[in-house]
């Protein structure tokens, strides 16, 4: 699906994880207002969250002061004050742009989901919940900058854009655990990798894809209001999870 025309909303944020919840709110509520089901609103918020996380982690090496642009385009148009109550939007296109170093898309590999280890799920999630996922090199920044375009169809059936690769996701490492436990009890921990909370890719059957995939999405929960109780802890950009910087740098060639 390719859309022409300007975005309905274009937002620039700093690459500070503190702003993630605000962006999620924006995506969720805009999607809701243009007629998406609650569940799909949450899916798009989740996909946007994952995409921005990848930019911050892998594109900008966790720097908190770099620009990220988020654009929302309502495919099919939106209601005007004169047409309130109508829902002409057929899809929502979400574009995430950065000015980070460009990555060779063909070099980006996904890991096997059978590897039970932290990290490597961001792109997989995006592909599962969105109908179209496309990574590109920006052509307007003199050889730098990545663009991720994601589309969710308003009447998407089941399925998802399960075949795509990330521009900002790490390649798999050799860590592996036996997995398969359904009781959380101890079992062969050899090879388990610790201290890697970075979220990379995890897509089997991945391939670069540019065409719209209208097979819908796996049902992902929506984001909802969470009440705050017992104290007041709030993370900051300085509290980014302890990913493996070597992995991020190496696997993204950054």
């Amino acid at each position: 699906m390719t859309m022409d025309g300007p975005a309905n909303i274009r937002l620039q944020i700093e690459s500070n994880t503190l702003f993630l919840s605000g962006v999620r709110e924006l995506v969720y509520h805009v999607a809701s207002r243009i007629g998406f089901a609650d569940e799909h609103c949450g899916q798009m918020a989740l996909a946007t969250d994952e995409a921005i996380c990848n930019v911050i982690r892998h594109g900008y090496g966790r720097a908190a002061d770099r620009p990220i642009w988020i654009s929302l385009r309502c495919v099919g148009g939106v209601a005007t004050p004169e047409t309130q109550g109508s829902y002409p939007t057929t899809g929502l296109e979400i574009t995430i742009e950065d000015e980070a170093r460009q990555v060779d898309l063909t070099q980006i590999k996904s890991r096997d989901l059978d590897e039970i280890r932290p990290g490597g799920l961001g792109v997989h999630i995006i592909q599962q919940v969105m109908d179209e996922v496309r990574y590109e090199h920006r052509e307007d920044l003199g050889g730098k900058g990545m663009r991720l375009t994601m589309v969710k169809l308003r009447t998407a059936p089941t399925g998802g854009a399960a075949a795509q690769q990330s521009a900002h996701e790490p390649k798999p490492d050799a860590s592996r655990c036996s997995g398969g436990s359904n009781n959380g009890s101890a079992q062969g921990g050899s090879g388990l990798k610790q201290g890697d909370a970075g979220l990379g890719n995890s897509v089997q059957n991945s391939s670069i894809q540019t065409d719209s995939k209208q097979t819908g999405s796996i049902q992902t929960g929506s984001i909802q209001t969470g009440s705050i109780q017992t104290g007041s802890i709030q993370g900051s950009a300085a509290n980014c999870p302890a990913g493996d910087p070597k992995r991020s740098a190496k696997e993204h060639g950054r």
Binding site: T17, L18, L20, S21, R24, E25, Y28, H29, G42, A45, L46, D49, E50, I56, R57, L113, I116, R117, P118, L121, G122, H124, I125, V129, G179, G180, S181, N182, G184, S185, A186, Q187, G189, L192, K193, Q194, A197, G198, L199, S202, I218, Q219, T220, G221, S222, I223, Q224, T225, G226, S227, I228, T230, G231, S232, I233, Q234, G235, S236, N239, P241
Partner: protein
């Protein structure tokens, strides 16, 4: 939708520890949960850690990574890790990650104490 904040309460019942995060678990708040889990998992005599997810309305892959790390530690220490009462939205992300069958997931904390 929420503010993105996260609070974590914990309590100990015999050899079982119950951790109750409330709020959103994302890349920004994940270190709070991770630190709480790590602290509990170093407690002497711990046989079972229950993470009560009833108060978690949003979790991204950062949260999933934290839980996987906790599971790995539990396995190393030969202790049990049980996820209790996840909201459908949280359970779904575990399903997408194909981890819903890797973790022990139960409907409520009481079941998690014995299940």
């Amino acid at each position: 939708m929420s503010s993105g904040k996260l609070d974590v309460a914990s309590r100990r019942e015999g050899d079982t520890a119950i951790l109750s995060p409330v709020g959103d678990i994302d890349i920004n708040s994940q270190p709070i949960l991770s630190a709480a889990i790590k602290q509990i998992q170093t407690d002497a005599g711990l046989a079972r850690l229950v993470i009560d997810l009833a108060g978690v309305g949003y979790m991204d892959s950062s949260g999933v990574a934290t839980l996987v790390q906790a599971l790995q530690t539990a396995r190393k220490k030969s202790t049990k890790l049980v996820l209790a009462a996840p909201q459908p939205r949280v359970l779904t992300i575990l399903q997408i990650a194909r981890l819903d069958t890797v973790f022990r997931v139960v409907a409520d904390v009481e079941t998690a104490k014995t299940g």
